[in-house]
Symmetry: D2
């Protein structure tokens, strides 16, 4: 007999909330019991996302109207900064998988520096586990609160952490040049996100100071055992889903490939391509996969790594389900076995 | 205990073949046993479609190298005209779900007129059942060969057939203006299908004479009980998936809506929107759904119907699986319950 | 010696305002003397539209800060409804080319019905000339105020008006199915206009009641000499520029083609394709052209017409310059000779 | 009185050929006298590019059917490798602006290494001048043959060459991460260029070994006065036009900005943005501009440069016209003053 886990999605009207719904609809043992969306409270999910209009889903409600006693776990897909106060008030029996940036940074001073205000739930921050299963699986098994990870950061850490841990690349000269689709910017209306402003063009943004930089610093330094400051530049390209990270490192390509292939041989969601092959973002779309390619530069001792994920899945909602599976003692791939969709 | 159906996909290197793979990977009782692709024989499926490179799938082979004895059912996703000879040679114990145009037209003279050559497998054509479950379910339950249906035609017939059968619209004045994504044109290389030739523009094509017209004539006339010749114009718009049909009819909108709502109340894949609401193609993408909206024109007695499907799913591979489920006595929704993917 | 016309663009921060700037920069005798944008007053045009940041253009100002004495003509690209009060206050020596909907409808009752409020400048409305040069050229030569025309309407009237005037089609059975790019919806932020909500999908909107319907009624009825109510359905497809109208009429294709070819033989911006050929929107992008194709339906006596324009050029800013040229006695093609840009 | 230059475009059926036509139609003193396209010989330009169907252009002919005596200058937009033999046969009185890769590399050994065959016109290669006006203007004034420049290379050299010449960046640690639209790949049909294969995704290609690398080596080494081998990785993103180069250098951002601003103060087609601002590709589309942004990294002594061009204009056909203007002693901006087109 299957034990059903009753879950709520806080912030179901955003793209990561909707993606959680899509994924959880195929999960064998999680049941969507509540959906919140403060500004759309009272509406059906189908009114907000017509692709779900044929389904029997809970009506959107306000967080304060939740019946906490009917819930076992919440996915929190609220905007950054609004999350802290909300999660501090969640009853203790409920497990929490956060998707926001609010609990990513372990150092409160670093949080304050990069986010511009003191942390509002420092006690929770202390117990939060960084929600990247490939590196924090054991801690996640027993935690109550899993912190969201930055989509660019997941994409970059998966190839870089094992290499820094193994000491096969130079930690002082890493360039991470990332290209993302627009869904990472969410559903709130803004002129710069209009179709007309995005289609048929590309741009860099947050150059030299994107907030995910702090998260890279935290995790890369931990892996290297010393402070690491990589160059990181995100770019926006005209597509919905996908992050492609092109990573320039100093290290031998053969060794890089061998290290990654060994490290991820048993991981269900990380695929190392044959050496010399680079993946495109199409090849992970809609799935929880990260595909990584390793290519030797023409200059000896330099290697180029290409890493791709779907920012809404492995970069957000899919990984959140993966984390929840771990926290609940379920098979880690439950609900996450769908193949990528292409074209 | 589940009985496993061993299936082959003939023509796995095309888009409908790949979409069959994607769908069947999630099917509870069909197992992909063989994949054919004459020009890519010997390659892995992952080499042809990298989104599948992490999966353990049969290597692509030539049709003549198939072990027919290991198969229970074949999906045939070969190009039009090449299908007839191939299917005539399939052993009798194997059920066939065709996706091509080769068996759609029941009248050999009509086939010859629209396709420019005599039919090469007239005996098979006689026993083929038109593979549209919503109208041919009973015949499909016992047939050996299901014929593929045109993607535009599925999109148009689902709203029109019940209305003609019920006599609530004028059969002599139907305009079907269809907009399709480019995947319907397949994966073969051609200048007109290049990204640069398609993005940021739209065009009509096959005006007044697209081959799907013959199929509309056949099925609409059958529904009306008299010859019906609708106007049908397909358009290409810059997207991958989706057909949106805008259908102009003479008939009362309330009656049209009521007729369709009643007709499809129990159908798992056809959703009638509340009157006055029109669906977009995003709301069915990746799913086997057809959504239909009914809107009253400002001119009394005229109604506009909007019908949307994903051309690769309900318009091709998804419906093929639905048909196979019926032919095998399986639950009709097996493998087809995934919600649409948006954004 | 060239006489310079000093022009202002009211509402320069919208897409039609920016397109006016682009076109006027290449005009031999118009000089952009002032640019207004109330909410962006004080900013440079380059700050609002970086593509112009290398140019020496007037700083954006508020309308009330304009020096009317320095102006000869204004292009008014303000949002619908805000235009009337503004234009009523323009000094009499200044010619006005409006791009809004505010002066399109000659009948104040019709305006009130379709726009939901009484007209605020009825005296101006009386003297406004409908700004479609191909049909109102003589009136435009001597008018002070030219009214903007709806982009869908320009696209549909160019083929339909000559046919109704000549009596070669049935005025009672016209279907106009239009597909537009998203720039027609302007630059104001809204969720439904986000890239993620538009790319990779299509939808119909304003079905049975889009405001341009009233304008079609006005002009088609005038052409036919009797009330004409066509079916008109606009669709949004994922592209920036372009309107493709597919028009279903009852009438002989040969006669339709002949009528249009004769009517437009001398028009610089209307191109009739050889019979049987249909244009795509790519073939007019960035230009002031309207291309029209005429195709015989398989059913005798029915004809399908395909008409394409760039909604920002012939559908708005380009035609506005064409109109201004006429009002100023300049060569009608001044500033408008650039070929379409493709790909 | 204006002297007319009679020009031919060899290879007018490709995208750079068509773009030359578009630009030259607005040129005050060049007249398109002949257009060649071997496989389309006998067709009109309008049949191959319908956007030109309303214009009176020469019918496409074969190269061997050209009347050389009627020509003053040829633009050669032929595929790489086919160019050498053709240009060797052009009569000596005719000036040549090549757009191919055939004459870019001054060292025949380097050409052979990167292009896989010995050069077929070594005498011409010796006299060819690298067609980048900002660095070779004086040589171009008197040359007969200007070599085409790689689109990625133009994009990267414009910011890098002055910095290397001035010694303000470290020549040993340059990373050039480039994102391009698909038109750079030309109009020949190939599966990987289909709309369905390109839209909604991104990929790197030619990693570690793209042919433009050799051209970077040649020109960067010349500028630095010592061998320079930069990292260069091109990426394909789903858009038609535009190259965005993100360049990581070691050097002070203030000094980098100052150096570039001073170097390009008088250049008509190179715009240095205010420090800290990065351009997008939309802001140059359709124009001959290169816009360059300089942003300080958070790590002192590191700078990120963003450079954008339209690959079909400054990366190919626009620059070719700029070069031709120089070779003919015309104003360098003739035919090239159109503002970018956005949206």
């Amino acid at each position: 007999m299957t034990t059903i886990t009753r879950v709520a999605i806080l912030g179901a009207s955003g793209y990561t909330g909707a993606e959680l719904v899509r994924i959880l609809l195929g999960h064998p043992s999680m049941r969507i019991t509540a959906l919140t969306a403060d500004r759309s409270a009272g509406k059906t999910m189908g009114a907000v996302y017509p692709q779900f209009s044929h389904l029997d889903l809970p009506v959107l409600c306000r967080i304060e109207d939740l019946d906490w006693s009917s819930l076992d776990l919440v996915f929190c897909a609220l905007p950054h900064a609004t999350t802290q106060a909300v999660l501090a008030a969640v009853p203790a029996h409920i497990k929490i998988v956060d998707l926001s940036a609010d609990f990513r940074l372990r150092d409160p001073a670093m949080y304050e520096k990069w986010y511009g205000h003191v942390h509002l739930a420092p006690e929770l921050q202390k117990v939060a586990v960084y929600g990247l299963p490939e590196f924090y699986r054991e801690d996640l098994k027993t935690c109550r609160l899993a912190a969201g990870t930055g989509c660019f950061v997941v994409n970059g850490l998966l190839p870089l952490v094992p290499l820094l841990e193994a000491g096969v690349i130079d930690p002082d000269d890493i360039v991470i040049d990332s290209k993302t689709g627009i869904t990472g910017a969410g559903r709130s209306a803004a002129e710069w996100k209009l179709f007309s402003e995005i289609t048929e063009g590309a741009k860099a943004y947050g150059i030299g100071g994107h907030r995910h930089t702090s998260e890279f610093d935290q995790e890369l330094s931990k892996a290297a055992g010393k402070p690491v400051m990589a160059a990181f530049t995100p770019h926006l390209v005209p597509m919905n889903r996908g992050i492609l990270g092109t990573i320039y490192v100093k290290g031998d390509a053969g060794l890089v490939h061998e290290t990654l292939a060994a490290r991820y041989a048993q991981e269900p969601f990380v695929e190392i391509m044959p050496i010399g092959e680079a993946p495109g973002t199409w090849h992970v779309k809609g799935s929880n996969l990260c595909r990584i390619g390793v290519i030797a530069d023409r200059r000896p001792g330099r290697t180029i790594i290409v890493s791709v994920i779907d920012n809404l899945v492995k970069g957000a909602s899919g990984q959140a389900v993966q984390v929840a599976n771990i926290m609940l003692g379920l098979p880690e791939t439950d609900g996450l076995t769908a193949a990528p969709i292409f074209p």
